[in-house]
Amino acid sequence: MAIAGDANLRCFPQPNPVDAVRWLPTVSSLRRFAAVAVHDPDSSSSAIEVHALNPGPNLLLRSSHAIPSRISALRFSPTPQKPLLAAAATSAGSLHLLSIDPLEGSIDSELSVGDIGFSTGAVADVDGQAEGREWVSVGEDGRVNLVVVGDGRLEWRRVFDSKGLVEYSAVRWASPAEFATGGLGFGLQWWDQRKPGGAVAHFKGNWARGNTVGMVHSIDIHPSRKHICVAGASSGTVFAWDLRWQHRPLLLSGVSTGDTVQPASESEVWEVRYDSHIQPSSVGTGPTRILPVMMCSEDGILAVLQQGEEPVELLAEPCAINGFDIDPQNPSDVICALEWEMIGILPRSKETSTAS
């Protein structure tokens, strides 16, 4: 396994645990901000904080906005705009939409939805459409909701309610009408709003060995390949599911019988993202090839996976990496949330962008 070393990682200790980190999709290249979801277990308070990243580098707190319960997911609408829209899902079953000034890093307003009809358990994940007008949320109670930004308030409608028979832990839009969800048993579901009444396609992986529940923690779908979703799950498993070949998932990391794919990690893969910094190697590029994917794991690994190649380890930390984000404007920079109450920022050099 190629080890790049962690000498470049800059750690910023925080006074409280960090649940999620995201780069702000910036409008200007001069100002860079990161949004952080923090939780204080002593006072049971949670907040979204915006930090400015100054050269040095150092992180400076710009604004903080209290959220009534612990944040389980934080997402920005992908389009850089003014103001930026970010959605925070909580473990108490509410959803908060924040508008953030991308130039000042200030949190200006909040809309929220959290009635009992919306959700009865933790909202596990949320994802927004490009402009941030429409969000889809999934929860541990098995509800899939569509949230639309209305006139000064949030409106929502139920897409599906499994009544607790199935629960979802991850969601990602594929197109304005379609999205994918993930859950237990290395399971993925494909939904099409034009075909109501349930998921249109199901997938269940059978890579479980030993004591594992095989939970999918994170999904990513590349805008140029909307029919493929990559998922990060238990036991170091990262796989790609192509809707055109639904019964032939492609294992990028993990262990399965017959397949010999080297696992980048052996524990929970908390987050996966397509890595736009790495140019896919020239051999065999084509529409069927899976683009490079970055993953982070419970055993402290941050690595880039490429189909048919050994994983490239970027970090091997002594504690879990609970989440990360790749700066959409400067894809060489990665920000990550470390278990030991720290934010890490990893700048990558240009040389690593072309993988061998």
Binding site: P13, P15, N16, P17, P41, D42, S91, T120, G121, E140, D141, G142, S162, K163, G164, L165, V166, E167, G183, L184, G185, G187, Q189, G197, G198, A199, H202, K204, N206, A208, G210, N211, T212, V213, G214, M215, S234, E266, S267, E268, E298, D299, P318, C319, A320, E339, W340, E341
Partner: protein
């Protein structure tokens, strides 16, 4: 003694028998007095949950106070935080230290294991090698406790800036450094006095917080010199110089001397001799021989690594001082303060005990000045101990902070005292980590700490202190995850306590449960992880997350509970699955998977779903193949022992139109007989209490029986 849990002499964990002033924590419970009862219980960390219950109001008041009763609360639980730490290190910093020391500790343990395996035969070579690893560990921990003192980074140095104001080190770091000096660093043991001089330079600012010390004297002087014109007239100036010299801060001395008025250009002409004397002393100070490897940049003195070289240079240097002392130039020096101040400095350098005593404030400073000017060589611990006592007598100190206790413990050569003092002053983290330093080079300490003790329940002191620290970590929701590292290093009780810790984590957050399972995987605790999954499964099931509950139990291979759950689940299936909307169940059925024998009684659901699916396809009368397939799965379902009896009749009733199939019969004779016998069994069981039929028409049984009979007739005709 009343109210005391155990006699301090017998207690496992040492606690201070000194009675301190009680601390009062006011509780705002907002409940009308009198209180009926108060319950106190520990929450996580140092939080205390206090539940206050109100006495139930007397009967007569109950009617009158109906309007009031809404605001009147019957009881309240209040959280009380005990102690705010020592103020020097807050909780977040303490956790940061705890996190950061995990990799260093784990690395040292794995090195010990691999080294002791390699050099089992030669324990002496192990010892020779070992202290280097401990030194590396000590340095890692030291970095964690605070940033090292760096030389001034400013390009232009202000000549009037004699004392660099630095970030004050914590007493925790200073204590750690002290132990490293005495116990670990073999390489510089010959330079021990000089290391103590450096150590005091860090420590003095902590000393200055509670007692008069040279550091505070110099800080005051620093403030003053910016404003004063004729500095050499001020007695504080000379006092500061002599104090700084006494503890070996040579750079400060030289900087202060160069501020002397005789250096000013307009004065140079008429104060030539005076200036010459000042400069001569400054040169002598800056060329003081020091027995050490090197001096940090910015510090002064000439280094000699070996004793003979040093002694030669020392004698020569003292010769220069004596010569200057007897020089005739003093008579020509007209400025009294300068003359007296400089001669005082010479006396200090010559090691005059009287001058040293007046120039220092605290006994520790006097002690260090001994090493600089009276006995600059290493001596045994005994000698150092009696010297310390002598200094204490000369400069009695009211305050005996934890650090001094540790210091005296080290000089006294008593490992147990050192550990007790560490524990008292710095807490369990310090003891658990500093034990490694104590054992690095000291065989006696090694034996003492590793000896299994009857009064500790057969564990060693090393294990005891690690367990105490692990318990502290376990009690906090943010640090419990690092406790396993310490528990794993405890051979006797560690694993048992680790199991307890893992069991105790709540199941309400699945991420925590998964992190818990990851620890099980690392330590190969398969049976524990199975139990944790069962606990989580039951938790989810109870909280209405049925799919998760089933899946977790399925992965934990808990057949017994799955069968139980299956019965409850079938109850709520009712007819819903036979409706068109079995989309609801689709996800769960997918999740259960198709492998046989993993889902307990729930396998049935999968087959049932398949049957229902193919039944849907048969509505067209021409679909013979589909009909045949459906009948096949019907027979399979009826044969399978996992199909609950209560579903037999609905299954048969759903497929009546298949039994009445136009044309060739779909069931052969033996299959029909099987179904008939099942039907018979069912009608006999109808009186059975747990029998229930799902809203089937009352004649359902008869309809099915008739259809089966018809089918049997046709089948017999067909086969004959």
């Amino acid at each position: 003694m009343p109210g005391r849990a155990s006699d301090p002499g017998n207690s496992l964990v040492p606690f201070s028998p000194e009675v301190r002033d009680p601390v009062v924590y006011p509780i705002r419970h907002g409940i009308k007095t009198p209180l009926f009862r108060v319950f106190v219980s520990w929450s996580h960390g140092n939080l205390l949950n206090v539940a206050c219950l109100q006495a139930s109001p007397p009967e007569s008041n109950a009617a009158a106070g109906t309007a009031e009763s809404e605001v009147n609360i019957g009881g309240k639980v209040v959280e009380v935080r005990l102690g705010d730490g020592d103020g020097e290190i807050n909780e977040a910093q303490r956790r940061r230290i705890a996190y950061g020391s995990v990799p260093a500790f784990a690395m040292l343990q794995s090195r010990r294991n691999s080294l002791s395996m390699m050099s089992r035969m030669a324990s002496s070579s192990f010892r020779n090698e070992w202290w280097r690893h401990v030194l590396e560990y000590s340095n890692q921990i030291k970095d964690l406790l605070g940033t090292p003192r760096l030389p001034s980074s400013s390009v232009i140095e202000d000549p009037k800036m004699v004392l660099q104001q630095i970030e004050e080190p914590t007493s925790l770091k200073v204590a750690w450094e002290l132990m490293e000096i005495f116990y670990v660093d073999k390489q510089s043991s010959a330079w021990l006095p000089e290391r103590l001089v450096d150590w005091l330079a860090d420590y003095d600012c902590i000393l200055a917080k509670t007692e008069p010390a040279i550091y505070s004297k110099l800080v005051n002087l620093q403030k003053k010199i910016v404003n004063i014109q004729v500095i050499e007239d001020d007695p504080e100036y000379w006092d500061g110089i002599s104090s700084a010299l006494a503890v070996g801060w040579l750079d400060v001395v030289v900087k202060l001397l160069r501020l002397h008025g005789s250096y000013q250009l307009d004065q140079l002409g008429n104060r030539e001799t005076e200036n010459g004397l000042v400069e001569a002393v400054a040169v002598l100070v800056s060329t003081m021989p020091r027995m050490r490897a090197d001096v940090p940049t910015g510090k002064l003195g000439q280094c000699y690594k070996t004793k003979p070289d040093f002694v030669k240079a020392w004698e020569k240097w003292r010769g220069h001082i004596t010569k200057l002392e007897c020089s005739a130039f003093w008579v020509q020096c007209g400025h009294r303060q300068t003359r007296e101040g400089l001669r005082n400095l010479l006396q200090i350098m010559l090691g005059n005990i009287k001058n040293l005593t007046t120039s220092t404030c605290h006994w520790m400073e006097l002690y260090i000045s001994h090493f600089l000017f009276i006995r600059p060589f290493s001596m045994g611990l005994e000698g150092m101990y009696s010297l310390a006592q002598k200094c204490m007598q000369l400069k009695p100190s009211s305050n005996s902070s934890g650090l001094i206790g540790v210091f005296m413990g080290i000089l006294g050569g008593n490992t147990e005292v050192v550990l007790a003092e560490c524990s008292k002053a710095f807490g369990p983290w310090m003891v658990a980590h500093a034990m490694e330093l104590l054992m690095a080079t000291d065989d006696h300490a090694d034996i003492l700490l590793h000896e299994e003790r009857y009064n500790l329940g057969g564990i060693s002191m090393e294990e005891l202190y690690r367990l105490i620290y692990a318990q502290v970590l376990s009690s906090h929701p943010l640090t419990w995850q690092i406790a396993p590292t310490y528990l794993a290093s405890c051979s006797k009780q560690g694993l048992g306590l680790l199991e307890v810790l893992l069991y105790r984590q709540s199941a309400h957050n699945y991420r925590v449960t998964l992190k818990n399972l990851e620890i099980c995987r690392l330590y190969e605790l398969e049976n524990i992880s199975e139990c944790i999954m069962k606990i989580a499964g039951v938790y989810y099931w109870k909280h209405g997350r049925r799919g998760s509950g089933i899946h977790w139990l399925q992965q934990a291979h808990d057949e017994v509970r799955l069968n139980r759950i299956a019965q409850q689940l079938f109850d709520c299936i009712g007819k819903s699955i036979s409706d068109d909307s079995f989309k609801q169940w689709e996800g769960l059925v997918e999740l259960l998977g198709s492998e046989v024998g993993t889902a307990g009684g729930l396998e049935f659901l999968h087959k049932y779903r398949d049957f229902k699916r193919s039944l849907h396809l048969v509505h067209d009368k021409k679909a013979v193949d589909a009909a045949r397939q459906t009948v096949e799965s019907l027979v399979q379902l009826m044969r399978s022992p996992s199909t609950p009896r209560r579903f037999w009749l609905p299954l048969l009733h759903d497929s009546v139109h298949l039994l009445n199939w136009q044309g060739r019969p779909l069931l052969n004779v033996s299959e029909t007989t099987l179904l008939l016998s099942k039907l018979q069994e069912l009608s006999m069981a109808k009186l059975h209490p747990d029998f229930s039929d799902f809203d089937l028409p009352p004649q359902a049984l008869a309809t099915v029986r008739l259809a089966l009979a018809k089918n049997l007739r046709q089948a017999i005709l067909e086969e004959s």
